[in-house]
Symmetry: C2
Subunit: 420 residues, 2 copies
C-alpha cells in the first residue's frame, strides 16, 4: 500500500514535471526528480501505456551511445476547458496537457451587471463549441473557471462579486449544468489563480513566497506563502485590495469603507487623477493614460506618480509582512506599473526593513492577461495530475471512453467526458 502510494505520487510528480516544464529526456527527469533511471523508465512506461505521455528519440543528441528517450505530455489527447469571467471580457479556452492554449473564444463583457444566467449562457456556448471542435480521440479531463470575486472553496459559489453585484450565486454548479459535459467546474478567485499561474508558469517559477496583485476595477491579491496559496480559515484571505492605506481623505471603496488600496489605485482612481471624464473606463482608457505619460504628458505622468505612491505604500506593507522573493503586477497593473515603478521603489526604499528588501524583485505578469485563464486551466488539470495512473481506458485502446473516475479524496465526482 505504501509502495503503491509512492508509485502514484511519483507518477503524478513526473507528469506534472513535463506538464509544467515541457519535454525532457528520461535522463534529465531522473536527475531533476532525484530518482534512478529504472524507476523513471517504469513510470514513463506506465504513463505512456495510459496515453498520457509520448516517448520518442531526441532529434539530435550530438553524443555517441544510445540516446535517452524524450518524454513529452500528450497535449493532443488530453485537454481541459478553462473559463475566465474578468471585468471586461468573458473567455473560454481549450488547453492541452502541457499547458498550451489550443483554441479560444472571447467576448466583450458589458460592465453594467449581466446576471448569472447571461454570463453562464455565453461561457457554456463557448465551452460546447470548443468541446465539439476538438479533434477525434481527444479527451476532456476537467473544467476550471476564474472569477473576479470571492469564491467559497469547494463548491464554486460566488460569495461576493462586487463588480457584477453578485452575492451567493452558484456560478460553478450553474456553468457545469449548462455545459452538460457530466463534469463539475472547479472555480477560483482570479487573483488567487493568477498568483498560482505566475508561480507555476510565469514570472516567479519555483519561488516559495510570491505576491500577485491583480488590478482591474479594484485590486485583488494572491499570496503564495511557503509554496502554497494563503487561504486563511475560510479561504477568504489575500484581500490586499482592502488594506486601508489612506485613512484621512480616502476615496470611497466598493466595500463600503474609504481609503482601501483598491480605491486609491484602481481604475477609477487613475482615470480621475488623469482628468479623464467619468464615461471613460476599461483597459483602453488605462492604456491611453500610460501612453500619454510615455509621450511626456505631465498630467498623465503626475497621475501615475500619485497612484503609484499609494501602490508603493501597499506593496511596502506587504513586503514587510511576507518577506517575499517577488511581487508580480497583473491585470491592468501591467499597464500602470511601468509609469509608477519609481514611486513604488521609492516607498520600498523608505518603508521596508533592509533585511526584507534585500532580495525582493518586482515584475509585471509574464503571462499577461492570460494569467487568470492559465490558473483556471491548472485548477482543472489538478485531479489528473494527482492521480494520473487511476485505472482507466486509454484513448488508444478504447477510442470513446465517456467517463473516467478520479478516486482521490479531492474530487469525489465523476469528471471526464469524451468528445461526442
Amino acid at each position: 500500500m505504501v509502495q503503491e502510494e509512492i508509485r502514484r505520487r511519483n507518477a503524478g510528480a513526473l507528469l506534472r514535471h513535463v506538464h509544467l516544464r515541457g519535454p525532457a529526456s528520461r535522463a534529465e527527469l531522473a536527475e531533476r526528480m532525484g530518482l534512478n533511471r529504472s524507476t523513471i523508465m517504469a513510470l514513463t512506461t506506465e504513463l505512456h501505456r495510459a496515453g498520457l505521455v509520448h516517448e520518442e528519440p531526441p532529434t539530435d543528441t550530438g553524443r555517441a551511445g544510445r540516446p535517452s528517450l524524450v518524454v513529452r505530455p500528450a497535449s493532443d489527447r488530453w485537454y481541459v476547458l478553462a473559463f475566465d469571467v474578468a471585468v471586461d471580457r468573458l473567455v473560454a479556452a481549450r488547453v492541452g496537457l502541457g499547458g498550451t492554449i489550443l483554441d479560444r473564444r472571447e467576448a466583450v463583457r458589458p460592465r453594467a451587471g449581466p446576471d448569472l444566467r447571461r454570463v453562464v449562457a455565453v461561457l457554456a456556448r463557448f465551452g460546447r463549441q470548443l468541446h465539439r471542435t476538438a479533434p477525434p480521440g481527444a479527451t476532456c479531463v476537467g473544467l476550471g473557471a476564474s472569477y473576479c470575486g470571492m469564491i467559497r472553496p469547494g463548491d464554486g459559489m460566488v460569495r461576493y462579486g462586487p463588480d457584477l453585484g453578485w452575492v451567493d450565486q452558484a456560478f460553478g454548479d450553474e456553468l457545469g449544468r449548462r455545459l452538460g459535459l457530466g463534469l463539475p467546474v472547479a472555480v477560483g478567485n482570479e487573483a488567487h489563480l493568477g498568483a498560482q499561474a505566475e508561480q507555476q508558469r510565469g514570472a516567479g517559477v519555483g519561488l516559495d513566497n510570491l505576491i500577485y496583485l491583480h488590478g482591474d476595477v479594484g485590486v485583488g491579491g494572491g499570496i503564495i506563502v511557503g509554496g502554497r496559496l494563503l487561504g486563511g480559515d475560510g479561504g477568504y484571505g489575500c484581500e490586499l485590495g482592502h488594506m486601508v492605506v489612506n485613512p484621512y481623505d480616502g476615496r470611497p471603496c466598493g466595500c463600503g469603507s474609504y481609503g482601501c488600496l483598491e480605491a486609491e489605485v484602481g481604475e477609477r482612481a487613475l482615470l480621475d487623477a488623469a482628468g479623464r471624464p467619468a464615461e471613460l473606463f476599461g483597459r483602453a482608457a488605462i492604456r491611453s493614460v500610460a501612453d500619454d505619460a510615455d509621450r511626456g504628458d505631465p498630467v498623465a505622468q503626475e497621475a501615475l506618480r500619485r497612484v503609484g505612491d499609494w501602490l508603493g505604500i501597499g506593496v511596502a506593507n506587504l513586503i514587510n509582512l511576507f518577506n517575499p522573493g517577488m511581487v508580480v503586477f497583473g491585470g491592468m497593473l501591467c499597464d500602470m506599473y511601468p509609469g509608477a515603478a519609481a514611486q513604488v521603489r521609492g516607498r520600498i526604499a523608505r518603508n521596508v526593513l533592509p533585511v526584507a528588501r534585500e532580495h525582493v524583485r518586482l515584475r509585471t505578469a509574464a503571462l499577461g492577461d492570460d494569467a487568470t485563464l492559465v490558473g483556471a486551466a491548472e485548477l482543472a488539470f489538478t485531479p489528473l495530475l494527482t492521480n494520473p495512473l487511476t485505472p482507466h481506458p486509454s484513448p488508444a485502446s478504447a477510442p470513446a471512453p465517456s467517463i473516467l473516475h478520479f478516486p482521490s479524496g479531492q474530487e469525489p465526482r465523476k469528471r471526464v467526458c469524451q468528445r461526442p
Copy 2:
C-alpha cells in the same frame, strides 16, 4: 526503514501530545491520535523505558474493569533552560517537560543600551544557577531564547535589535559559550515565539490561522498561516509593526520611516497622547494610563481611543489579508487593548469584508507576559520532541549521562547536558 520512521514520528507525536495537553490515559491517547491501543502501548512502553513518561493507574476511574494507565510527561527528569530578552526585563527559567515553569530568575533591564556582553552575563549567571539547583537526576535537554529583534534563522544572530541598538550580534553563540553547558542556544524573535506559544498553550490552542501582536516600545508580530509560522524568503516576515497606517502626519518610527503601526500604537504614542511627560516609560506608565481610563479620566480614555483607532486600522488590514481565526494581543497590548477594544472592533466592522470578519475572535494573551518565555522553552524542547527515542541512556539506568545525540537533520550539534 519506513516502519522505523513511522514509529519515530508516532513516538514524537505521543510525547508532544502529553507535553502540550497534559496527562492522558492510554485509551484517550489511542482515540485522540487515531492509533490502536496495542500501538499506543508499545509506544508508551518505549517512552517509559527511556524515562520520558511515567505510567500509573488513574486515581479513580469510577468504572468497573481494568483501568487504562495514565501517561504523564516526566517533568521531574527532563527540562530546558529558557531565556527572554524583553525591553524591560531579562528572564531565565527552568521549564520541565510538560511545560511547567519549575524555577525562574528575573532582572530589570535598563532601557538605555546594555551591550551584548552585559546582557549575556546576566542571563548566563541565571542559567548556571538554575542548572546547579536542579534536582539530582534531572537532565537538561535544550536551551532556547526569545529576543526582541530580528533573528537570522538557524544561528541565533541578531540582525537588528532596535531598542538595544544591536546590529549583527552573535547573541545565541555568545550565550551558549558563556553558559558552558555544551549545548547550542536556539534563538527566536519574541513575537514569533509568542505566537507559537499562544497557539500551542495559550488563547489559540489548535487554531491554524492566528495573528499575535506583541507590544512594547514598538509592535512585533507573529503570524501562523495554515498551522505554521509565516517565515518568508529569509525568515524576516511578520513585520506588521512597520505597516504604514498613517501616511500623512505619521509619527517618526525607529525604522527611519513615518506612520508605521508601531509608531502610532507603541508605548511612546500612548504616553504622549495621554499627556505623560517624556521621562515616564515602561509597563508601569502604560498601566497607569489604563488605570486612569478605568477610573473615568477623559484624557486617558481619549488617548486609548486615539491609539486604538490606529491599532484597529492595522488589525483590520491583517484580518483582510489573513482571514485568521483569532487575533491575540500580547506584551503591553494586554494592558492597552481593553480600553481600545471598542475602536478596534469599530474598525473591523467598517473595514473588514464580511466573510472574513464573521468568525474572527480577539483575545489578550492567555500566557500574559510569559508568552515569549514559553515560546523559547518550546523552541528548546523541539529536538527532544522530534526524536524522543534516539538511543540514549535513560536517567534511571545511567545516572550521569553527559551528552545525548539528537541525530535529526534539524539539530546537528551535541545538545544534552547533565546537572554536574
